[in-house]
């Protein structure tokens, strides 16, 4: 690992000032992604600004929802009573990610900003437009089993690897960020971006900004919510495909729905059109099959990930059934 300078910030203000002074510096929160990438030479900052001790680790009930500090640990959020009671989908998604040890270090902000797990991005010998713009995309014609089927561009076909973010996007979260000009709020659907011709840009956070919190509005999805993750082993592996499904039911009728997929796109993939079409329908296998079919419109596979064209709709159907309490 390349040597670097280290500073510890105690307030958001001092963290932002340190960053303004040295724009090539990077924040370190839990370090579980950044240290990994630094060891492999994928990134080599000259200075790290330690933000793990910022007083931004509270999970607070606020009017009409909850505010989760960006420094809250993944394990802390997953075990939080309020979250378990009101937003169980988020706890499920968090517990499906990484391992107990990693969740004890990983923060909410860091989880959102974790980089893709594309093997070409990790291997500094390989071409990768995300790591080094203009070098080409190694995955497009290469081994692309883990890669995207929605929203790809000729420049990048990587997926965002987070589980937590799939639940957050489904639950209408918003991201509170602070920069030199003050605070702004970004809807979660607009936080991550599609690769387009700028695959090096994962999201819409400014280079001079700090994530301070994530907010969730009160939600009716306390009873009928399920996060289903399909992976190569039973635990401690990234998703091939995952689905966050939440239903508000009146008897057997769907009053409203929330649906998002992970492992299929450069951003957590919210399915708003499908959600709308589910409203008023009766819960049944047929309803969910229809939803899954609608969700797959526009999907496009590459050489090694064509299995996702089947796996994704099947996972949607299963997740919706489990959310609805229809057991197979």
């Amino acid at each position: 690992m390349k040597a670097f300078q280290y500073v510890r910030a105690n307030t958001a203000k001092s963290a932002l000032e340190a960053l303004a002074k040295d724009p090539s510096a990077q924040f370190i929160a839990g370090g579980t992604n950044l240290v990994d990438l630094m060891k492999r030479g994928v990134t080599a900052p000259d200075k790290l600004i330690d933000i793990s001790r910022l007083p931004l680790n509270k999970i607070e009930k606020v009017a009409n929802g909850v505010r989760i500090g960006a420094m809250s640990l993944n394990s802390q959020v997953a075990d939080d009573k309020l979250i378990l009671e009101k937003w169980p989908l988020l706890a499920q998604a968090l517990n499906a990610g990484a391992s107990a040890q990693l969740r004890n270090k990983a923060t909410v902000g860091g989880n959102m900003l974790q980089r893709t797990r594309c093997g070409y991005f990790y291997d500094t010998e390989m071409p990768c437009n995300k790591r080094q713009p203009g070098t080409g995309c190694g995955a497009k014609e290469g081994y692309n089993r883990m890669h995207a089927i929605f929203g790809t561009s000729e420049h990048c076909i990587a997926v965002h690897p987070s589980d937590m973010c799939v639940a957050l996007v489904a639950l209408d979260a918003a991201v509170v960020v602070q920069g030199p000009k003050g605070e702004r709020t970004i809807p979660f659907t607009e936080f991550h971006r599609l690769p387009g011709d700028r695959p090096e840009k994962d999201n819409t956070l400014g280079k001079d900004e700090l994530i301070v919190a994530v907010t969730l509005p009160d939600s009716p999805y306390t009873q009928h919510a399920h996060y289903l993750k399909v992976r190569d082993r039973a635990s401690y592996a990234f998703a091939l495909v995952s689905v966050a499904a939440a239903l508000e039911l009146e008897g057997k009728t769907i009053k409203s729905a929330r649906l998002a997929m992970g492992g299929v796109a450069h951003k957590p993939w919210r399915l708003q059109e499908v959600e709308k079409a589910l409203v008023g329908k009766t819960v049944s296998e047929a309803t969910f099959q229809q939803a899954a079919q609608q969700a797959m419109a526009g999907a496009r596979a590459f050489e090694y990930n064509a299995f996702k064209l089947k796996l994704a709709p099947n996972t949607i159907v299963e997740a919706l059934k489990m959310a609805a309490g229809l057991t197979a």
Binding site: K2, Y6, R8, D50
Partner: protein, 204 residues
């Protein structure tokens, strides 16, 4: 004398491990690092050490470390606490699991400087004198290992798993212990050991 024989065996084993890790370091050291044009400069750069206070297994330490030193390398290379193992060095195996302020973490992905002021517990800090920790005893009783390389990490993780309240069934144990890989496949016995300690109700 029994103990001295054991010591010799241990040392022989450590030499073997040292050699084999040198070998694997050679095999694994990425060529690109050597080809990297910045490599010389990196080695030559003056590495400023920063002061670091840590309590490790109940003993307070005042140390000087480079910011890039991981907690794992600090424990093993500087403090010679080699009970904590380096398996993958990338957060993928759990062999390096230690407790930081009572929470289990992977020491290989933790920069030592970020732990300033914290209480670290390693496998060496679990036993009370000659009395093994109940989890250590249970691993012996249930044969919770074969080669033993993953065992320190497994035990540290298992203790935390019970403390966290995530050891209420075999399924829950399997899920919450999934961050510890065992290449020997001792999993069934590891789960038995944890169940045994949990049922025994001792404070861990």
């Amino acid at each position: 004398m029994k103990t001295s024989k054991k010591t010799i065996e241990n040392e022989a084993r450590r030499d073997f491990l040292k050699q084999s890790s040198v070998l694997s370091a050679l095999v694994l050291s990425p060529e690109k690092a050597i080809k990297d044009p910045n490599w010389d400069e990196k080695i030559a750069a003056p590495f400023e050490k920063v002061p670091l206070k840590l309590e490790i297994n109940g003993v307070k330490h005042t140390l000087n470390v480079e910011p890039r030193t991981t907690l794992l390398d600090l424990l093993r290379e500087q403090l010679h606490l080699t009970g904590t193992k380096k398996g993958c060095d990338y957060g993928q195996c759990g062999a390096c699991t230690v407790h930081s302020d009572g929470q289990r973490i992977n020491s290989c992905l933790t920069l030592a400087v970020t732990e300033e002021g914290k209480k670290i517990t390693t496998i060496e800090g679990l036993a009370k004198g000659d009395t093994l920790h109940p989890m250590q005893e249970a691993f012996v009783k249930h044969d919770g290992f074969q080669c033993g390389y993953c065992t320190p990490g497994q035990i540290m993780s298992a203790v935390a798993c019970i403390r966290e309240g995530h050891a209420n069934s075999e399924d829950e144990i399997r899920e919450y212990m999934s961050g510890n890989i065992c290449r020997c496949g001792a999993y069934p016995n590891i789960v038995d050991a944890i169940m045994d300690v949990k049922k025994g109700g001792q404070t861990v």
